[in-house]
Amino acid sequence: MSVIRLKLFICILPLLIASATAQPSHPRPPATAVPPDDGSWAMPAKNFASTRYSAMDEINVGNVKNLQVAFTFSTGVNKGHEAAPLVVGGTMYIVSPYPNILYALDLTQPGAPLKWKYEPKPEPAAQGVACCDVVNRGAAYSNGRVFFNTLDGNAIAVDATDGKEVWRVKLGDINRGETITMAPLVVKDKVLVGNSGGEYGVRGWIIALDTGSGKQIWKAYSTGPDSEVLIGSEFKPYYDSDKGKDLGVSTWPPNAWEQGGGTVWGWISYDPDLNLIYYGTANPGPWNHEQRPGDNKWTAGVFARDADTGQARWFYQFTPHDVHDWDGINELVLLDMEWKGQQRKVIARPERNAYLYLLDRETGEVLSAETFAYTNSSFGVDLKTGRLRTNPEKEPKLNRTIRDICPTAPGAKDWNPSAYSERTGLLYIPHNNLCMDVQTMEANYIAGTPYVGAEVKMKPGPGGNRGEFSAWDVQGAQKRWSIKENFPVWSGALATAGNLVFYGTMEGWFKALNAETGELLWRFKTSSGIIGQPITYKGPDGHQYVAVLSGIGGWSGAIVSGDLDPRDGTAALGFVNAMADLKEATTKGGALYVFRLP
């Protein structure tokens, strides 16, 4: 017996080694979007392919257990910290939630002292307009300048050396409910910015500004006539439902598109070879779904646009006629891979509706859409039409109690970005496991007008855990492993060549896992819940560091950062019900944590 087993083992072992080293079939990001790793971190997603993967491996599975704090820094702000720190040339840049202070820390000095800070002093009124918390998702560095946005709708360029303002342009108007929370992306000589505020009847847009002057180069709306959506002769959507003139008008009741939502508050990726940018549009609003019959183009989908002109190339709608508040703004990870015998340029997209989409990024065709989280509100995606097959029984209906709608309004996964390791071929997805009951209506009152709204109560999904951190095999289109978390996982993910993956929890744990197996190798309890995006960089001393912002808040954490009453289960749009115990698990307060090996 034992002899036979031994023989088998010997036969298999070389195969295992070969597959572990050669990695013949892992999808890889396009080389032009992912330059050789110089140890800097100049944009929230690390690179244009949005992999959030670092080739550094000084910190690895063998030594990560020794990781220790190098230095910390208090941002002095108590709201939700969703941003990624940036590191370029011996300086770290962090942007705080409102009041959106930009700090520069000198990494060449012991303890990384403050080099300068830039205070944009946004209008206080913006706090009252932001839907869920006064967050900011980070800055972008390019060519000696740091670009970021303020809650009150300004895009700002700051000199990276001395913190002096280079230009500042007002793009949104808080008097109309328009805010900006997203991190910009710099593509060549343009900085790309989009708006927030769909709750207030804002019409979504993305704008390209000249990096030198802040002047507008192009602007594309998410609703309305083709001329304003920048749909022209180059527009070649894959599916018939996206073909036709002025669908941004005709898929709405008359004029409803003027306040139709489709804001652009999430992530942008860029393929330099195709010269296309990719970004998602948020949900339609503010009419309830019965009042806006139609597909409500071009909300809750993804646009591919020419980076220079803004002209749309294709569009795909994840959730036509959204009834769940599923903003289609999540990250878009660009990969090249073999698919059914052919080499394809794809986008991997973990979407709110619980499907992991593989889209052909040249054409917008859906190659596959498999569930990465529990859903009962749809039955899959029809690959012929690209259309989501929805479950009418789980549509929120007015004046009717509907139980166990899964996923909930923040979706199976919200804005917080996943990371892709070309070493493991796995996409690491921080996500939710939440369901909700929409119950009897309750009286409400705003601006002197009474109305009734749904009493939305979120609760843990199957299994009882509210969050999950999943490793998704992109080539095999299936989940490899996943870690259950008590609270929703609202932080970003980071993957490294040290075969590690990092993320944070809402209790404040910052964790390092074995990227192959999911084994927990190290963790550190920070001072507040983590909803930020971890990064890694090479310090001026040549060593690898890992950094993350701690500071609870955001939609899910507003119960703590916004001092919401846990008895009021419907506050923060029903999220508080699912998060009543978060107040016992953490307290508010923004701080940077940076780690290194001894």
Partner: protein, 273 residues
């Protein structure tokens, strides 16, 4: 239309009540730009009623001005900035509300020369240009909007954001003005707003209360209360006592602002058609 410079939040104004030397403060959170309810110049009917309460309590009024938007109660009353919100819907979940001090209804607002509308069943609603307020809170809107969409009336309905453009005076009033300037044929609006701005037009616009008064579970009439923080029971009773002790005065104020009434609190409720 006048274009004032309004601050959305956070402007604190201290005012001495007319009663003079007072031993206590009456801390009130109100919208600085939302007639007929309230404004910074104290021209709203809620301002007048608060003044009356302050005299009764021998208190000095301290206003915290905050735009009435999502998070208003959380950011004002429940953040401890004030003790009283002078107008909200009775039974509202986030605070403790007093007994109602008036009840109003949604109304159809038409030009006086037009054929009046009084029922959601009126076939003319399929062709008229209709305006309603948009709230968009988790896909919920004002009850008349749901009454229309339930009947398949969506293509001729125009939404006016309840928030409007806050640089303008009283942003929700745009809906009523749209009837006067013929952008729409009929507005379906909450009574107090409709009554006040309809009366300002020349000739005044016509109001008809909507029927049915409850449509598939959606109420069209609502009782209105003041709100205090949960647990502030002594103060709530003081406010209720002041309200009930000045019933006639409150009725006169509401009548002066043309608030359509559908309650039995008052014998002098302004009749509406």
């Amino acid at each position: 239309m006048s274009f004032g410079c309004h601050s959305l939040v956070g402007l604190l104004v201290l005012l001495a009540a007319s009663s003079g030397a007072a031993g206590r403060d009456l801390r009130v959170c109100s919208d600085p730009n939302n007639l007929p309810f309230s404004n910074e110049k104290l021209e709203g009917f809620e301002n007048k009623i608060v003044g009356m309460i302050a005299r009764e309590l021998n208190a000095t009024i301290e206003y915290t001005w905050w735009a009435s938007r999502r998070g208003f109660v959380r950011n004002t009353l429940n953040a401890g900035l004030c003790d009283l919100i002078p107008g909200t819907v009775s039974g509202m979940d986030m605070a403790r509300t007093t007994v109602p001090y008036y009840r109003s209804t949604y109304v159809f607002v038409t030009r006086p020369d037009a054929t009046p509308v009084s029922s959601f069943e009126d076939p003319v609603l399929r062709t008229l240009r209709i305006g309603v307020h948009l709230i968009g809170d988790d896909g919920f809107n004002v009850p008349p909007a749901h009454a229309l969409s339930r009947r398949g009336i969506t293509n001729n309905v125009r939404g006016f954001s309840i928030y409007g453009d806050y640089r303008e005076s009283d942003p929700p009033a745009r809906l009523i003005k749209a009837v006067a300037n013929q952008q729409i044929d009929v507005a379906i609006a909450w009574g107090p707003l409709a009554g006040y701005f309809a009366a300002l037009e020349s000739p005044p616009l016509r109001l008809d209360k909507v029927m049915p008064a409850r449509d598939e579970g959606f109420p069209m009439t609502f009782p209105i209360s003041m709100a205090v923080a949960r647990g502030n029971e002594v103060f709530r009773r003081e406010i209720e006592s002041a309200l009930s002790g000045h019933r006639a005065e409150i009725d006169a104020i509401l009548a002066e602002y043309h608030v359509p009434r559908v309650d039995s609190f008052s014998q002098i409720a302004r009749p509406i058609r």
